[in-house]
């Protein structure tokens, strides 16, 4: 059984989902891609926007979320952390 995702895991999944979509994604797509409920999505998205890791933009009447440089850097940092944990046996 896989372990419960931590806050950092969820944030990383959200940022990676945006990156995989070329840096911009619709909010509903992000919810499905990052495997989140609506309330979770709202909570984490607010935090990401507040910390300037993600921005909201309007494109042809649709709302899109784009990842900022700060968001990309944070994703790199968390990915390095995960690699470090796996290599040095620090998980769980």
């Amino acid at each position: 059984m896989s372990r419960k995702r931590s806050r950092n895991d969820i944030i990383l999944d959200m940022l990676l989902s945006i990156q995989k979509k070329g840096g911009e994604i619709k909010p509903t797509h992000l919810m499905y891609k990052a495997n989140l409920s609506h309330s979770q999505m709202k909570l984490y998205l607010e935090e990401l926007i507040k910390n300037e890791m993600v921005k909201k933009i309007k494109k042809k009447e649709y709302e899109y979320l784009i990842i900022t440089d700060k968001g990309c850097n944070f994703a790199d940092k968390v990915r390095q952390m995960r690699e470090f944990e796996k290599t040095f046996g620090l998980t769980g």
């Binding site: 950092n8 390095q80 952390m81 690699e83 040095f88 046996g89 620090l90």
Partner: protein, 232 residues
């Protein structure tokens, strides 16, 4: 009086440079692990790993200090004959070197123990107190017989290498396998240090092998950082 000089004359100073290099590698990993702990405070293993590498790094710092004090006296008294030099060194530099050497050994052993704790979970406070007391006792005993210290370090490093190899079998991470190899190399250097009281050239060989182990550790650390950045 305890022998404080293991290096041949031509290698004095060079070993300090090698140790500074190893110490920087250890501090780098400790710093990164502490940064990870600050990001994700839920995972205490980051903190223990950081503490472990910091203590091993400090152990190198004390070793460098010990050697620096001893070598400085040698340079100052170089006009005298070799026997007089060694006698002068052991008398004048004895106290600071003794304290520094005790700190070096205790920091190394406790640092390695913390590394073991990261890999072997489910330890109680009593286990920690018992093992640390035992390690401090070994540190004290090993001051007269260096062999006790090197044997203890060898045993601890061998266990850590084996633990990392078992972890590799589970997680199939190539870097974990290399990590276990790097600890095997560092453990091998301890075997060479067994003979340094009789043959000073083994000290040179031991320092070189140990440095190779730490360089490998650095390479693995760089691989981890690069791999973390690659997956965009």
């Amino acid at each position: 009086m305890v022998d404080l000089i293991f290096s041949p004359l031509w290698f004095m100073g060079k070993d300090i440079i090698i140790d500074i290099f190893s110490m920087i590698i250890l501090f780098l990993i400790a710093f990164f692990s502490f940064k990870c702990y600050k990001t994700d405070k839920c995972n205490k293993n980051h903190f223990y790993l950081s503490l472990s590498f910091l203590m091993i790094g400090l152990s190198f710092l004390f070793k460098i200090f010990t050697n620096f004090v001893v070598y400085k006296e040698i340079v100052e008294k170089q006009t005298l004959g070799l026997l007089t030099i060694i006698h002068t060194v052991t008398v004048q530099a004895y106290l600071p070197s003794y304290l520094s050497s005790i700190l070096q050994k205790s920091f190394m052993l406790i640092g390695l123990y913390f590394l073991y704790v990261v890999l072997e979970k489910n330890k109680t406070i009593i286990d920690h107190v018992m093992v640390i007391s035992l390690l401090l006792l070994i540190t004290h005993l090993s001051h007269m017989r260096h062999l006790y210290y090197y044997i203890t370090v060898l045993v601890m490093l061998s266990i850590i290498s084996a633990k990392y190899y078992l972890l590799f079998k589970k997680n199939k991470q190539r870097r974990t396998k290399y990590l276990s190899y790097s600890f095997v190399i560092i453990a091998t250097s301890q075997i060479l240090f067994f003979f340094i009281t009789k043959y000073k050239n083994f000290y040179v060989l031991g320092e070189i092998v140990q440095a190779i182990g730490y360089v490998m550790l650095l390479v693995i650390f760089i691989m981890v950082l690069k791999r973390g950045k690659k997956k965009r």
